[in-house]
Symmetry: D2
Subunit: 135 residues, 4 copies
Amino acid sequence: MYPGKAIYRIPYADTDQMGVVYYGNYLRYFEMGRSEWLVQTGYPYSRMEEKGIGLPIIEAHIDYKAPAKYEDLIRVDTKFEQLSKVRVKVSCQVYNQNDELLVEGYTIHSCFHLEKKRPIKLPICFIEHMQKNLD
Amino acid sequence: MYPGKAIYRIPYADTDQMGVVYYGNYLRYFEMGRSEWLVQTGYPYSRMEEKGIGLPIIEAHIDYKAPAKYEDLIRVDTKFEQLSKVRVKVSCQVYNQNDELLVEGYTIHSCFHLEKKRPIKLPICFIEHMQKNLD
Amino acid sequence: MYPGKAIYRIPYADTDQMGVVYYGNYLRYFEMGRSEWLVQTGYPYSRMEEKGIGLPIIEAHIDYKAPAKYEDLIRVDTKFEQLSKVRVKVSCQVYNQNDELLVEGYTIHSCFHLEKKRPIKLPICFIEHMQKNLD
Amino acid sequence: MYPGKAIYRIPYADTDQMGVVYYGNYLRYFEMGRSEWLVQTGYPYSRMEEKGIGLPIIEAHIDYKAPAKYEDLIRVDTKFEQLSKVRVKVSCQVYNQNDELLVEGYTIHSCFHLEKKRPIKLPICFIEHMQKNLD
């Protein structure tokens, strides 16, 4: 129904004593959006790790519009774009079951060789994968 | 496909440096199982809270059989049973996408009046709901 | 030794399978910094809530310099400043035991009446408290 | 002041909309107790991992007596004991700043070779370390 998008029911765990989702959890939702997009478009992040490559986050930004609540069924929309030979930007929007925009933001990732522990160029096949799967 | 069961893709967030899901996260998965069962059988926990009643946990037990891993698609099977006039036991099993049992355990809940902050009897309608929805 | 600063030993829970702290946890560390600063300077956040006032987050930004690791003893430096009659900005830096800057960022908070569920002006006594406790 | 014990200020992050600490967080507090005990008695868990050995959890049990609350300063008391040549039991109690027992429980760990991915005997030096540091 929502190809490439993460769908998630908010558990009690994610709320805080203000009665809404704790602000720190949205970075987890952003990651669920990225992971699900990669799995569903056919380039799971685990495959990248098997090649010895990671995409650690170097910057994150979040704008909070309205709070998600317990039992809400949220949806994370995700968009990957290449910033440079070694950088990727991922934009995320979190919506509730009424299609209300709750939170939006982005993460910036560097491409990293996990064993050598230093930056490397993004794999060509991943750049092509991002271009092919633009909405 | 799995009515009354929570389905969840393991995010990177839930792993630890041993490369598998951190042991503390399964209590969250148990709760996702309970919440989803209650929503899908038509007695959402939020409705109970609106009546001023909560089901705080007084005991939890977990047996770990095999670890869940990043990108696994887990399923939580959940069974509610009445223990006494004021106690409920919820049993949970967590399976991966290969139907392998990873973790099982239970939580015991007391019925609690949220405003008066003291135990009360389980609502008759909730007892009937549990009985009606036994597998 | 570090008045007004949160000190925290990184548990296994906070790591992920890349072997470092998961990026989403730093917003929790920022909050630990804010909470500890408020407690230690004598204006605990719980007291604000007792007055019916909250400081929900409307924006967050994080720059990741170097990863925190398991067993690291981190320190969070925190600085409150008034942005407007209804806005507060809190800047945070996270250091490890070698005084290496790992992460820095900020959160922006609006002042909110918890019961009426609408913005209100920052309490004068809180504005004075922030001014009095500038480093 | 409390040698070998973890001290921790409850952040907002750990509360849920019932206004107390979410039940799943106590397994993290148990781990903070274990990690801190090991660091302070001079046998950090990271050193064990460097030897290629892990102590994954195979069972956990928690009894909840009273809830921890936001801004509480909790203390985790931890006791290691050998169950067999390949098993360790760790008992934990969580107290608040008024020395009130909030939660108690235990975890059972198997000794595991991280690379060969199979159980091995507990290292003699670790058995001796546990015996030497009994309260």
